[in-house]
């Protein structure tokens, strides 16, 4: 294993990193991850207090989270908002990406920048704008406006990922499908979409995580009964500093961790090449021509 990685570095023309570099890297890694790790023992603490290290170990805080109806309701609300806004964001982001990458029209670059602008505008600005807007329409506090707000927030992320993937899809594939008699929709469904699937899944998972963790927009747009989990957590920090938060934090970290693992699997071209090569070795009876 060690000698494989060494060879790979050498083929790129560099030297393998020295011991000191490795130590610095590990130190930085630990420094960054420590806050998340500290939460884990704390979450197994007891009683209604946040304390490190915990004085006794129990699942009390987890029980508190899973059996307290307020936490469960806000969790379901978060899932609902995240799933709906992810679906909407995937649809809007993918179609917008397709238009921006494939079509030719005046002002294409401007439109692209405009569609991506929610990435650059501070969340608090978006949140305040949406709050005033929805309040005027009498929608503020509804799940519907939460979903709309989150859709606005996640769409550019999906768009960026899909645009990058689409630039890697040879337009000749679509041209070929059309000359072979396939219509636009057939071509999109059978050629373009399957090639974009990994990007769509990745973008969608990102969108889901972004929405699930989002606080600022949710804080402004949610109302009584439509609070999402992060909003409820924030409230409980401000009002009561509930130790249940540490248990929830661990669960949220786990969720993010699993999503990242899935993304890595979907977005690892190296691994797929290996699988393909393995498959080839198995089916290869004739030597290749060259």
């Amino acid at each position: 294993m060690a000698d494989v990685s060494q060879r790979r570095v050498e083929t790129l023309g560099g030297l393998p990193p020295g011991r000191a570099t490795a130590w610095v890297a590990w130190f930085m890694f630990f420094f960054l991850i420590a806050p998340s790790l500290i939460i884990i023992p704390m979450s197994f603490g007891d009683l209604n207090e946040l304390y490190f290290p915990p004085r006794s170990l129990s699942l009390f805080l987890y029980r508190e989270y899973f059996f307290e109806s307020v936490w469960m309701e806000t969790t379901f609300q978060s899932f609902k908002v995240a799933i709906l806004s992810t679906l909407a964001g995937m649809f809007l982001g993918a179609t917008a990406a397709y238009g921006i990458v494939r079509a030719t029209f005046r002002g294409k670059k401007m439109l692209g920048a405009l569609l991506l602008s929610p990435l650059f505008v501070p969340n608090i600005v978006i949140a305040l704008g949406l709050y005033i807007y929805f309040a005027r329409m009498g929608l503020q506090g509804t799940t519907f406006c939460l979903v709309l707000g989150h859709t606005l927030f996640v769409t550019p992320f999906v768009m960026v990922v899909v645009m990058a993937a689409l630039r890697g899809v040879d337009p000749n594939l679509e041209a070929a499908a059309k000359t072979m008699g396939a219509g636009r929709i057939y071509t999109f469904r059978r050629v373009t979409l399957p090639l974009l699937r990994p990007a769509m899944v990745t973008g969608g998972l990102f969108a889901f995580l972004m929405s699930f963790d989002e606080l600022v927009i949710s804080f402004f747009l949610s109302g009584f009964g439509t609070q999402t989990l992060p909003v409820k957590m924030y409230d409980s920090i401000v009002l009561e500093i509930s130790p249940v938060l540490s248990a929830i934090s661990v669960l949220l970290t786990l969720l993010a961790f699993f999503v990242c693992v899935i993304i890595t699997i979907f977005y690892n071209p190296d691994r797929r090449t290996k699988l393909r090569l393995a498959g080839k070795a198995a089916t290869d009876t004739e030597p290749l021509e060259k």
Partner: protein, 380 residues
């Protein structure tokens, strides 16, 4: 769509009727009138930017013409979307669907046509036999070599029996040996399947090898159209002469419109027995001779030749079967002589004085600019 056998064989398979294409202010094609005959192998040849790919895209429907009409088999298809035209196309980068197996790739046009899966299986198997790759059906395109991928791309085209196959530099990405193999393969398929093929290339050798007819394009215009023989032996412009094959060109003025035509050049008189049609006394012209038609004579050779000039040897390069000698004439213009290699052949040393000579039949007169508009004499 099957090939209509009953239709009038005089109707051209494709007809570009005075087609013009502008991209913004750039004129990609300027009033092209081009006919592709039924069952012929027609090559569009030209340097990059000459409009050859634009012609292909116009026929396939990927772009629309700025002016003019496009006809396929007697039907005006100018406004018809690409997927209704019933064409086949082979791309330089193969354009095989990377997410599908070879079988699915070839089955794609059949699935579009909603054929039964039993029929699809038979047809795919048959066409894989035809391109001699029956064992790769279950592989992904990425597991095949470039040559195999291109053969699959061709199979995908043949499987639905389109009336016309468009090929956009299909062999451009292959190495030389494989390319030559595939040229013969394509010729074989074309001859045995009775397809109309429209082939785009910038490789003049490929065009000369494969085509029934060549259309030489230059700056969005047809420079010359004809059989490979006509283009090679009867170029009608300096551009044609230089683009197809190697050429030696001398500038001069017509002294006597003959026959034989006598042209005075900076190195002396050239004689040309070919009927050039345009050379009147006093016309400035270019004199062209192919390197393989020039021969070298040792210094002091007393023979009389219609075209014989002293020259100094500059360099010699052996290309396997042929030797090319680079010489300089008295006025400084250069001349290339190509001979077949023979073992123990005596090659004049660099710097030595020799004669170059060629027959009056091999001398071709060309206008200084533009092209001869009168049709060239028929090829032998």
């Amino acid at each position: 769509m099957t090939r209509p056998n009953d239709s009038d064989s005089a109707t051209p398979m494709v007809w570009l009727q005075d087609v013009t294409k502008h991209y913004g202010t750039v004129v990609a094609l300027a009033e092209i009138d081009l006919e592709v005959r039924r069952s012929e192998f027609l090559t569009l040849l030209g340097p990059s930017g000459s409009g050859k790919t634009t012609i292909l895209n116009l026929i396939s429907g990927m772009v629309g013409p700025t002016a003019g009409r496009i006809w396929i088999d007697g039907q005006d298809i100018t406004e018809m979307p690409p997927n209704k035209r019933g064409l086949g196309m082979v791309f330089q980068n193969y354009a095989l669907m990377p997410h599908m197996t070879v079988f699915e790739n070839i089955a794609f046009p059949l699935r579009v046509r909603k054929l039964e899966s039993r029929v699809i299986r038979t047809k795919v198997a048959k066409v894989l036999e035809l391109v001699r790759l029956p064992e790769v059906a279950r592989r992904k395109p990425s597991e095949l070599s470039g040559g195999q991928q291109q053969r699959i791309a061709i199979a995908r085209c043949l499987v639905y029996n389109p009336a016309i196959i468009l090929m956009d530099e299909p062999l451009g990405a292959l190495d030389k040996k494989l390319r030559e193999e595939m040229q013969l393969e394509l010729k074989r398929l074309h001859a045995s399947l009775d397809i109309t093929a429209l082939y785009v290339t910038h490789d003049q050798e490929e065009a000369l090898t494969m085509s029934d007819r060549i259309v030489l394009l230059n700056n969005g215009r047809i420079e010359q159209m004809g059989t490979p023989d006509e283009l090679y032996f009867h170029p009608r412009s300096p551009f044609s002469a230089e683009f197809l094959g190697d050429s030696n060109i001398l500038g001069g003025t017509v002294e006597d419109s003959g026959p034989p035509v006598i042209v005075s050049t900076a190195v002396g008189q050239c004689r040309c027995t070919r009927d050039s049609g345009f050379a009147e006394n006093g016309t400035p012209v270019k004199v062209m001779v192919r390197p393989e038609n020039v021969f070298m004579l040792p210094p002091g050779n007393p023979d009389e030749h219609p075209n014989k000039f002293p020259a100094r040897m500059v360099d010699t390069i052996t290309f396997g079967g042929v030797i090319k000698s680079y010489l300089r004439l008295a006025d400084g213009s250069s001349m290339v002589v190509q001979e077949l290699t023979r073992a123990g052949q005596a090659i004049p040393e660099a710097g030595s004085e020799v004669y170059v000579a060629w027959s009056a039949d091999d001398t071709i007169l060309l206008p200084v600019e533009g092209r001869i508009e009168t049709p060239s004499p028929p090829s032998r």
